[in-house]
């Protein structure tokens, strides 16, 4: 299905990442945003608040807190809208319970986290990339989500469309893991015509009410949806539930439901993975990076190359599910790894796990507040090269 032209601001623009994120959401068909102001994400909802009254069917509401924002969007989804909320570190922490609710009730929606330095209030106006593990594991219990990490305003636009499409396809909450630098940097953003934007419509059931079981999976392990008011008169609960949506406290139903919630992403991980590889084939050292740090890494790689080291880059565009098979392949080829990220080792753990000891893995990390220095990453590349030799 093609995008609704009413939400698509086709043309060439000069936008920051936050504004581009908002335009991406509108192009993707998002018509409901509930937000709560928090730096450095606020510009996303400010733009949506300005745009919504001029896009038929779109509505913005500023809620009383992040708990309210993160569940109002789920009410809106069951009312038939595509919906998102937008926040940063402290607000993201408050939203965790409702990420679990969205996972459990298979409510397709998008959470945007424009990451700042943490923990706690941390560095409100300065960048961080330390919510990556929280995005994956933040709510209690077992579940899977999908997380994306753009590294430019253009990609903020593009990946928002992917985020909504993936959330509809797999019925999971999708995390858009931006960072303050990407959110606030201004660059050219080209928005294509609506008929060039592919949109995944909601997978509504075609079965009549007397035949439809709301949580019985279809072939791809994802159940088709209904919406309130369509005469299905069904129940949706955060309790463990059977195919009918009825609470059931038995271990058998827990296994049936929660194992599926995990497997519906794990079994499709090969289709979901999205990385960008540059000069990886002949590389002796591979830098794994994402978001703004991937752009600093490009400079660091150039420095290291000047010293005669063959360096490639693997940029994570989708961070969760993690491309473990590909990382393992590269590790088996004897390529040393440098993980460059604005934290003290989060995606590093995944790279280490995926390499399974086949190759050295080094962290080029720091606690946020500014981007890495190019020299620091370059020094780690040299160190990794030496470890390998």
């Amino acid at each position: 299905m093609k995008a609704d032209p009413k939400g698509v601001l086709t043309g060439s623009h000069y936008l920051d990442g936050d504004h581009a994120c908002c335009e991406g959401a509108l192009a993707a068909g998002c018509r409901f945003v509930a937000g709560y102001p928090i730096t450095p994400s606020t510009e996303v909802v400010e733009r949506f608040a300005r745009r919504a009254p001029l896009v038929p069917g779109a509505i913005f509401i500023q809620m009383e807190d992040e708990l309210a924002a993160s569940i109002a969007i789920q009410g809106a989804v069951w009312g038939g809208k595509k919906a998102m909320t937008v926040t940063s570190g402290p607000g993201y922490s408050l939203m965790m319970e409702h990420i679990g609710l969205a996972a459990m009730t298979e409510t397709p929606c998008v959470f945007v986290d424009v990451q700042r330095g943490g923990p706690s209030t941390g560095l409100p106006t300065l960048p961080g990339q330390a919510d990556m593990m929280q995005a994956r594991w933040g709510s209690h219990g077992d579940y899977e989500i999908i997380a994306l990490a753009p590294n430019s305003p253009q990609e903020c636009f593009n990946l928002m469309i992917d985020a909504f499409n993936l959330s509809e396809q797999y019925r999971v909450p999708v995390m858009m893991m931006m960072d303050e630098c990407v959110g606030h940097m201004m660059e050219k953003v080209v928005i294509p015509p609506a008929d060039k934007i592919e949109i995944r419509p909601r997978r509504f059931t075609k079965l009549p009410p007397n035949e439809y079981l709301p949580f019985k999976p279809t072939q791809d392990l994802v159940p088709d949806m209904f919406k309130a008011g369509d005469g299905y008169r069904l129940h949706v609960t955060g309790l463990t539930h059977d195919y009918r949506g009825y609470p059931d406290m038995s271990p058998e139903i827990q296994e049936q439901l929660v194992h599926r919630l995990v497997n519906k992403i794990r079994f499709h991980a090969d289709e979901i993975y999205h990385v960008e590889e540059t000069d990886v084939r002949d590389a002796e050292v591979v830098v794994v990076s994402y978001g703004i740090t991937s752009r600093v890494s490009v400079e660091a790689i150039a420095l290291a190359k000047n010293q005669g080291i063959k360096v490639g880059m693997l940029r994570l565009i989708i961070c969760w599910p993690f491309p473990e098979k590909r990382i393992y392949e590269l590790a088996c080829q004897g390529k040393a790894m440098v993980v460059a990220e604005m934290n003290y080792g989060q995606m590093l753990l995944e790279v280490e796990r995926s390499c399974r000891g086949k190759t050295p893995v080094l962290l080029a990390g720091h606690g946020g507040g500014t981007v890495h220095s190019v020299e620091d990453i370059a020094a780690k590349i040299v160190e990794a090269y030496k470890c390998r030799s």
């Binding site: 509505i59 919906a83 008169r233 129940h235 609470p247 058998e252 139903i253």
Partner: protein, 298 residues
Amino acid sequence: MSVINELKLARQEQPASCPAEHPMDNFMRMDRMPHIWCPSCGIGVSVNCFAKALEKCKIPLDNIAVVSGIGCSGRVAGYVKVDSFHTTHGRAIPFATGLKLANPKLKVVVFSGDGDIIAIGGNHLINAARRNVDIVVICINNFNYAMTGGQVASTTPEGAVLPTSPYGNFETPFNLPFLTESVGAVYVARWTSLHIYNQTQSMVEALNKPGFSFIEIIAPCPTIYERQQRLGDGLDRLRWYCNNSEIRNDAKTKDVDIQLRNRIIVGKFVDIERPTYIQAMNEHFKKVLGDRYQLYEG
């Protein structure tokens, strides 16, 4: 796997349908009976009144959505045969807000308890009332956190002895009609589980009224609250309501606070007109943006 669980697994394969045998069949999920509520608990009474209210209003059941939070009253959503959502603790109102704004044709009813709506969800209650979101909130007030064993709540009367107020509660409880009136609710009523007719009538009026309506139902919790206060069983409590509740529709809400053993003032306290959230939004944007604005209808 136990036989019972095998049966459960087999049963869920069959679409929910029961022969019409009971007058509540069309309204209740009979395949979920028996419910979890204790004998002479007040929640079931209010569900019954709600069913009668829907019948009187003649609102098609397809257009009703019930949203609950967590707790004994939070289980209402699971038993009523309409589109129903059992959400997280305290957050039924913001979920209902999203649902109503996304599809304004729905009649959205929040059915939950005092711990859920007033304490953990208090911020959402006051903001939804302030915005005048067009939803009905039915708050079953049994003065304690019954589901977890009867801990003290923000509605527990002073002096009540409960597991987390073992020497008696010394905190001042909320006066719910006063609270909701002061933050902008357009309809506020309070009844006890004994006031079947009045409760039903208030639900009818609230369902027909655009804007944020709030109905407090004082309900017995004989298993915990009444037993701990030595107030007798459920029937004793209903007798007590009969002798000690006073209908005063003209009462000032600031005067209707509840004490442990004093008379309870009940009635319809507030019934005013105010533009709903969507009405106010449409009027405002039409005025500011003119023809560039298309009225929001969902």
